[in-house]
């Protein structure tokens, strides 16, 4: 980054913060910058070597060629051409978006309801913390184990089917419970609802209760309070949760493979299959497209929320 551009950024942010934009270069600001740089040096080093460089590497390799045994530098657009002209790509992309949207919807509804209950219906702080921790504990355990644990539940002779048969709801086992879109989305919701609960709960806890009281005094019903006061004030939390869920689902390659019994595909699986076949350039090209898609989605969502303000 050049001095010019960072000063421009700085003046932008300063202006945004309602301060007077600083004049151009000042020596007195150097020590200030120096502490910041030194303190964030380890962070910058890690992010440079393990985030920025890998992304650059992927972009570079996406123009390379692959033979049966190796990859070698070239500059050609074949990988992209193949990718963007194949109908499979569009199908898989559509599938990825579909998973993301459906998962987002369910995690939002469940996450919002859970957070709303915790924030406004549980009265003592101790209980709030205890119940909140109960929701978060599964997050600290292995995702793979949590996926595996659905198998005895959903399988042909699993708990769900045997229960339904014994209740007389169905005559034969349902085939679509496991290794289907249904099981993939179920696993996503199971794994990621928490990413909605936490930011929404966090935002709700910071809502001034006198606003709720004011709404009630003004004669609002519970439902009106929810739609006119709580939901608008919870928007930032909803946005942060959405960013988490959408990016996690779009970038996933393991849940889809596992829960669909390798019968469904999303972009992540396209990449991991290419990797398994040592087709790194084509994997890299797909990865570049995926990254652009995810970053576009994020930049749209970030329009609605100022993350730094929300922390």
């Amino acid at each position: 980054m050049t001095d010019q551009s960072h000063l421009f950024l700085h003046s932008q942010t300063a202006a945004a913060a309602g301060k007077k934009a600083k004049p151009a270069f000042q020596w007195s600001r150097l020590p200030n910058n120096l502490t910041g740089w030194l303190l964030s040096l380890p962070l910058t080093v890690v992010l440079f070597f393990f985030l920025v460089l890998p992304i650059c590497m992927i972009v570079v390799v996406s123009f390379w060629r692959a033979t049966e045994f190796s990859i070698y530098p070239a500059f050609q657009f074949d990988n992209y051409e193949f990718l963007l002209t194949s109908p499979v790509t569009y199908q898989v992309f559509w599938n990825t978006v579909k998973y993301a949207l459906i998962t987002w919807f369910f995690t939002l509804v469940i996450g919002f309801t859970v957070a709303y209950f915790l924030a406004f219906h549980v009265r003592s702080l101790t209980w709030q913390i205890v119940l909140f921790l109960l929701c978060t504990i599964p997050f600290w355990t292995s995702n793979i184990i949590r996926m595996i644990s659905w198998i005895p539940f959903l399988g042909r002779n699993g708990i769900a089917n045997s229960t339904l048969i014994s209740m007389g709801v169905i005559d034969e086992p349902l085939e679509w419970l496991l290794f289907s879109d249904f099981s993939v989305i179920l696993a996503f919701v199971h794994l990621y609802t928490l990413f909605m609960v936490v930011p929404i709960f966090n935002t709700m806890m910071r809502i001034d209760t006198s606003l709720i009281e004011a709404a009630r005094d003004a004669g609002a019903s519970g439902y009106q309070t929810l739609t006119n006061v709580i939901i608008p004030l919870t928007k930032p939390g909803i946005m942060i949760g959405s960013i988490f869920v959408v990016t996690l689902v779009m970038g996933d390659f393991i849940t889809v493979r596992f829960m669909s019994g390798s019968q469904k595909a999303n972009v992540g699986r396209l990449i991991s299959n290419d990797i398994a076949l040592l087709q790194y350039p084509s994997a890299a090209a797909t990865a570049v497209i995926l990254l652009i898609t995810v970053l576009l989605v994020i930049s749209v969502l970030l329009r609605f929320v100022d993350i730094r303000k929300e922390l």
Binding site: G158, G251, A283, A287
Partner: protein, 279 residues
Amino acid sequence: MEKRSRSFYVLATFFALFLVFLYGPTLTIGILSFQGPGGGLTFPMRGVSIHWFHDLFEQQAVGDIWGSFFRSITLGLMVMVTTVIVSVMGGLAFRKRFAGSSVLFYLIITSLVIPSILISLGVGLIFSQAGLAVHWSTSGYGSQLTWTLPFGLLIMFAVFNRFDKSYEEAARDQGASAWQTIRYVVLPIIAPMLIGVALFGFTLSYDEFARTLLTAGSYNTLPLEIYGMTTNVTTPVIFALGTLTTLFSFGIIGIFLTVVLLINRRRSRHGSDAGKGMI
């Protein structure tokens, strides 16, 4: 206290169902891991035994479970210590704006939202093109940091946003140097949150799969080992392993929570000496 409304009971039921949904599958495999020797991957239970837990301790039944377990713990501890130190430093840095801080902030967000497989692929490619061998303690370690650091940093940002600056001003007024202020005022105040960051660092690393997949090299971490098992093990031994790792995770969470409680209790016992003429 006013009477509970009807919506409270509806929501409480919803919440209870949510907890069943969260914990049900885990409990199921917990129960199934005690299958008798003839039992399969699903109900009915054919007897109750600890046969499958025994199997775990025999080398021929499974792969290198114990080796991968100790590698995961070592790596988890490495990542935990690094995450705590780097997050605190980063948190302190971001209290003031500095040149490039916005760019760095967006990099942190990118690190959080980037599809994990890209980190795996990119780091793997860099190592292979540079002629270096990937290893869990080098490439695996760095890749996991891209996942744990953003979490640690976001917690630190939240902590410092709510931090009362008057403590530091008081320390400075008493003539404390910058380092003394950090060491004797800031760090003790944020200690419980640091436990949280440490917990994030350890458990995220211990369970991390996607970013370690292409960067761990020939020695697997535990999640990779479990993943390998899922494709070729068709006995409840995998449930036994799942039960054990879940219990281990619970144990870790328990330890961290206890430490936080102890710290808070010790503090409240000391209490405030305001108004007692103490200096």
